[in-house]
Symmetry: C2
Subunit: 361 residues, 2 copies
């Protein structure tokens, strides 16, 4: 039965329809700040932009990051391209210096794109298993020292967990000592329920970020990377000049406008996310599911028996999209994004309940 | 002296300034059709789009290509990303089938991104030298049969030449016989002065195209690939779901609008390009330069003595941007894009004349 029930993320991304409730892609349902669209009626750009990104946008970002200038940023087609380019540039520099096949450490469960991105870029993946959704430092330390790069993601998609500041500081120390590149994917930095974001520091740290989650601009595709490693930033720009050139200038101008929106906007959003988090967490506990309480981002990753059947049947019989835990390296779990209106979360949970009750019989 | 005079394309892309005349990047100076901006005041999209690209855009394209449906297209961040993804997907499929390091044939001089893209994707580049800017089929045939892929570019950037239809048909035949992937970069298909474009056919042909040149939308970054090779299209979509996700939805909507513009627009553009072509070609012949007459696209590639000094000095002393032939595999030449107003072409040529006269003394 399993073999027929083949589902992939690409099947679900961008899929919408009557009656479908999607706990699938990590897509805010609320629109971006209105100001983002205010520039459009007068917009007339069409020429190539700088490969590194528009200056106004990079200068606005430089104010948000310590010890940085506009030169420390590269604007990309979403965080995805920032990750892809950073990994490719690291692997390329490693090879040019005569290194063998590089290794990249992944914290498992991981965001489903990490494994293919690491492999496409030519790395051998190495895994450290999270415990209760968080890094076990002893295992991490043992493995990271043999790696060229490591990918950190706090708050984590899919676990919803936030790493302890002490863990992040220990990671800064060990990776700096061993010259390991740290890719810190912080796209959920503004969606943390438990504390302020902690920005990882270090000479070979690459911070990945985006306008997609904070400002609900997923489809517009504006992300960026930030690094004080000049050699790496230069290599990323050189690569991007061939692989995609500038990020769409109109989307960059919209992202720039988002940086001018008062912080109040983000605080309001966070309250909404927190109430949704409470609802889905409480609801799932009531269904008897085993899951971690999210501290950031907008995902839960409950244990589900026969998860392939669950994801297939929920989609085909109940019009509910969920993502298979095995895509994230968590084969006994299913990921739910709660980037949904509370009414839809409630309806979705009720359909899950029906299915689970039917299954028991 | 040469070692100090280090110039790279990334130094010039997007660079504009008072008094600078840029024969650098291939950037139409005339704006896109007005209709492209008419959608903006009402635009409100923000959600993820389909990874493969918006349906309206792919359906419009399907009407322009024989035997195709919307499924044969993937919309990308410009032709650059289409090339990058196609090369990576071909190399990936080749490796998964147990192949060794794949080879890719390049026709030299080539567009300057081809060599890095081929190398980044893990291919060993193989070269066939053009004669008078066109393929020498005997040499091409001998080399292509040992390659996994070949890159064709007619009209060519940087030579401005258009391949004979007989040559393209012979390439179709030999590559189909030997199962070689053909990447046909046809971004200048609507800018041919000598005949209609000839679309290469074959089961493993990937046609690369873009809205950048035809509709002057370079900075907006919308390109696409078209192929009847379903396995390859599927792999490209899978890769793109990780490396950049959908192409910016607002830029895609603008590109869709461009497809609705009457063909009249393209015909008018072509007349303008042809008059510029005549002016720069005649002007350079009058300067005693050795060059090929362009049959398409908007580049000339004259022979220039001490080309590194020329490019450096023209930029620093005469505010004229030109591109070094060695970036294109043509070390004794310099590339000029004539995507400029005739007044600027005239002024630029006059500065070149001054410099060359001064140099003679």
């Amino acid at each position: 039965m399993d073999s027929k029930k083949k589902v992939t993320p690409a099947m679900f991304i961008g899929v919408r329809g009557e009656g479908i409730i999607s706990f699938g892609s990590g897509q805010p349902d609320l629109p971006p700040p209105k100001a983002v669209y205010d520039i459009l009626p007068e917009y007339s750009g069409f020429r190539y932009g700088l490969i590194q990104g528009q200056e106004n946008l990079r200068e606005a970002l430089a104010k948000q990051y310590p010890r940085s200038t506009a030169d420390s940023f590269v604007i990309t087609n979403g965080a995805s391209e920032a990750l892809d380019l950073a990994l490719r540039a690291i692997a390329w520099l490693h090879m040019k210096k005569g290194g063998g096949k590089p290794k990249c450490l992944l914290c498992r469960p991981y965001y489903y794109s990490y494994l293919p991105l690491v492999e496409y870029a030519g790395f051998e993946p190495v895994f450290t298993d999270l415990k209760e959704g968080r890094i076990v430092y002893e295992d991490f330390e043992k493995k990271v020292i043999d790696c060229t790069a490591v990918l950190i993601n706090s708050p984590s998609n899919p676990t919803g967990r936030v790493e302890a500041i002490e863990t992040l500081q220990a990671i800064e120390k060990i990776t700096e000592e061993h010259g390991v590149y740290v890719l810190s994917d912080e796209v959920y930095k503004d969606l943390i329920y438990v504390r302020e974001n902690y920005l990882i520091k270090g000479p070979h740290v690459v911070t990945i970020n985006s306008f997609s989650k904070t400002f609900a601009m997923t489809g517009l595709r504006v992300g960026y990377l930030w690094s004080l490693d000049k050699e790496l930033v230069k290599m990323v720009i050189e690569m991007k000049s061939h692989t995609s050139m500038n990020t769409s200038i109109i989307a960059q101008e919209m992202a720039y406008t988002a940086t001018t929106v008062p912080k109040h906007y983000i605080d309001e959003q966070l309250k909404i996310w927190e109430s949704r988090r409470d609802m889905i967490y409480t609801g799932m506990v009531a269904l008897g599911l085993d899951l971690w309480k999210p501290e950031g981002a907008f995902y839960v990753l409950p244990k589900i028996e026969q998860p392939r059947d669950f994801v297939w049947d929920m989609f085909h019989d109940y019009k509910v999209i969920t993502y298979l835990g095995e895509w994230f390296g968590a084969p006994d779990r299913v990921r739910f994004s709660y980037a949904l209106d509370v009414d839809k979360i409630e309806e979705g949970l009720s359909r899950v309940k029906q299915y689970l009750q039917k299954r028991k019989k």
